[in-house]
């Protein structure tokens, strides 16, 4: 094996890590803004991702069976729809459940876990227990070979690009929009924000829904690299939590860095170890890190 072969394998392995990075980041960002804003941990966050994935599957089915002329373009519409549907369900869930539990974060954990069980069963009853995959448009298939022996899959590139766009949009919204200003004001001082005319309840609901919508997009991205089952989302939930805590809660840049670090550790160690041992190693590293530095990678010093 020549040096360039090793380099190529290393690059491709690194790229596989980037796809995982994309899913973890989109999941983590949604969780992080919800957790940062409201101190609420949404255990059903994985199911919002699944909603997004099934939305894409539904659109693909429609394109295949009813509207064949959209078979190349449906995917882009489906991503938007994934966001919208997950957003709407998130809005509903906040109204029905979350807003009653703000003062009891541990109970929110349990209630949203119950919600996730229920949603999984809904998926199972609607789409069946088997995993499904949408028919991907041709332009997402195949791979890009900039160099001999180096194959970068196009779907991976697409997912990465999508993630970067969403992340940039979220960061922009957080630091430039009225909503972002309201969120940051509420995080800094909820009572004061309320007093200065910010409807914090409305901000909470919007934030929760946006977080869920981003999870929906994560699900749409997920369909290009894996098949969707009723419990697909829940497989990522613990990892996403760790992404958020590892990065330093409520710190969006931290979430980006930690998603990258965790995904790369996982994927590079998979090269040397079996999949399950790579996972154990990654998780152990995170847990040990959090034992030594519980505030995560990034944390701002705040006067208590």
């Amino acid at each position: 094996m020549s040096f360039s072969d090793i380099l190529n394998i290393g690059l491709m392995q690194g790229f596989a890590g980037l796809s995982l990075f994309a899913v973890l980041l989109l999941m983590g960002l949604g969780l992080a803004i919800i957790f940062g804003q409201m101190g609420v941990i949404n255990m059903a966050h994985g199911e919002f991702m699944t909603i997004g994935a099934y939305t894409v599957y539904l659109f693909s089915w429609l394109a295949d069976n009813r509207f064949p002329r959209f078979s190349q373009t449906y995917f882009l519409v489906a991503i938007v729809a994934a966001f919208v549907i997950a957003f709407a369900v998130g809005w509903l869930v906040e109204w029905a459940l979350i807003r009653h539990l703000y003062k009891r974060p541990l109970d929110t954990l349990l209630a949203t876990w119950g919600l996730s069980l229920g949603m999984q069963q809904v998926f199972r009853s609607t789409f069946g227990p088997k995993e499904v995959s949408p028919t991907l448009p041709d332009w997402l298939m195949g791979s890009w070979a900039p160099h001999e022996g180096l194959d970068i899959p196009i779907n991976g590139l697409f997912v990465l690009a999508l993630t970067l766009v969403i992340t940039a949009a979220l960061l922009l919204a957080m630091y430039k929009s009225r909503w972002g200003l309201r969120v940051r004001a509420t995080v800094a001082n909820r009572i004061m924000a309320n007093a200065s005319g910010i409807d914090t309840r409305k901000t909470d609901r919007l934030t929760f829904a946006i977080g869920c919508g981003v999870a929906g997009v994560a699900g749409a991205a997920f369909t290009t690299i894996g098949s969707t089952g009723p419990t697909s989302g829940s497989l990522y939930i613990v990892d996403s939590f760790l992404v958020v805590t590892f990065g330093g809660a409520a710190h969006l840049l931290g979430t980006v860095v930690s998603a990258f670090g965790i995904a790369q550790t996982q994927s590079i160690s998979e090269f040397f170890l079996t999949g399950s041992m790579a996972k154990v190693l990654t998780l152990l590293l995170i847990v040990f890190f959090l034992m030594i530095r519980p505030q995560g990678l990034f944390a701002s010093k705040v006067r208590r």
Binding site: G39, D107, T108, L110, W113, L115, G118, V238, V280, L290
Partner: protein, 395 residues
């Protein structure tokens, strides 16, 4: 007679005695050995539930990783039983006789070093309690000394549950993998699968559970118990009264872990196997709901909740498997939103006042008619909570 009643009332033993009556007399009398064994299995989860009452209800620390400790206790016991079942004669057809069958299937040729001590029952019994406790100590000491608490702590415990279950499944050569450790037959030559053994194990388990509840009740009454409660509500005040809060939290976590470990070992003995399906995230969080349904503040209530949820599960998952998950979802959401203190909380807030009202309304007419046969002075003193519930039932 009255002094005994007063004593029971004073020490709040009414619930414990009712539970003892249920699991030591009523269940064994009314059920065949198959069903009794099933209840024995549910009662082993009861150990986890009372641990959670002490940890979560009483001390305000939520752990989503109790399956880890349940599993560790269970695996310690299973390793001992497996070694006993894998003597060279019964495993002579293996390429390496004398080691557990799953090791042979995975081309292992010698027993790993860390399996060796589990030839000793004494070591195993110690390990059942100490291994979970030590792991709990390591996790919680690091976290609580650095002031990690609440949601963060819950997530870390969940990550530990994930790590351990993935590790056990991944290392199938030394752990038995996804199937777990199966085909456990004898304990020091005594066949644990016979009906008589199942009866004995059931009663041992039930007795041990009652003893553990009693022990926890005692802890709740000491200054330590008061401090744990105080810490849950006003952590700052406790800390600035000169207490090292972290140590108390570590104690609560270790106590819950030790109890779960005992439960796991009793599970292995009664059910005859141990597998990673009792270790991971899902079983761990389900154990929390067992305690929540019964009442996170009530030791006896949590055990009753555990029995009810498991009974419901075995009924529904056989007859309507789809419905069961919806019901479980409704349980999680309903308990948290509508009655956070569970069935025991409902008993205290609704049933007991209702019974008291009924008892009061039935006494007044008797006193008003001035019935000469019943001396009015006796009735109130006899009407301690326990008898009133019994009197009220016939109507």
């Amino acid at each position: 007679m009255n002094t005994i009643k007063t004593w029971i009332h004073q020490h709040q033993l009414g619930g414990l005695l009712a539970l003892a009556l249920l699991i030591l007399v009523i269940l064994p009398a009314g059920l065949d050995i198959f069903r009794l064994n099933l209840f024995g299995k549910y009662l082993t989860y009861g150990f986890v539930s009372i641990g959670l009452v002490m940890l979560w209800g009483h001390s305000g620390i939520l752990s989503l990783g109790q399956g880890v400790f349940f599993g560790l206790g269970g695996y310690c016991m299973a390793m001992f039983l497996k070694l006993e079942a894998s003597d060279p004669i019964s495993t002579r057809i293996q390429s390496t006789p004398g080691i557990p069958d799953f090791m042979d299937w995975n081309q292992l040729t010698a027993l790993p070093l860390w399996w060796q001590p589990f030839h000793s029952l004494t070591f195993t019994l110690l390990a059942v309690v100490l291994v979970p406790t030590l792991l709990a100590f390591c996790i919680s000491f690091a976290m609580f000394k650095r002031r990690v608490s609440g949601v963060y702590f819950a997530i870390i415990t969940q990550a530990v549950a994930l790590i351990l279950s993935v590790l056990i499944i991944g290392q199938q050569g030394v752990t038995g993998g996804v199937n777990g450790i199966t085909d456990l037959k004898t304990l020091l030559g005594w066949d644990i699968r016979s009906n008589s053994a199942r009866y004995i194990l059931y009663f041992a388990n039930a007795g041990l559970l009652l003893a553990c509840i009693w022990g926890c009740m005692w802890i709740q009454k000491t200054k330590l118990g008061t401090l744990l409660l105080a810490m849950r509500d006003k952590e700052d005040r406790v800390q600035f009264s000169g207490y090292d809060v972290a140590n108390f939290k570590v104690f609560a976590f270790c106590l819950a872990a030790a109890l779960s470990g005992i439960g796991g070992a009793m599970f292995t003995l009664q059910v005859g196997f141990m597998s990673p399906s009792f270790v991971g995230i899902i079983p761990s969080i389900e154990m929390v709901i067992f305690a929540a349904v019964g009442g996170r503040l009530s030791l006896v209530g949590a055990v009753v909740g555990t029995l009810l949820v498991n009974l419901g599960r075995s009924y529904f998952s056989e007859s309507f498997p789809d419905l069961w998950l919806f019901l479980m979802a409704a349980l999680f959401i309903g308990v948290v939103m509508a009655f956070p203190n569970g069935l025991a909380g409902l008993l205290d807030s609704h049933i007991k006042p209702w019974l008291a009202r009924r008892a009061a309304s039935r006494q007044t007419p008797v006193a008003a008619t001035g019935d000469p046969v019943v001396p009015a002075s006796i009735t109130p003193t006899q009407d301690l909570p326990l008898p009133t519930t019994i009197q009220a039932q016939p109507e």
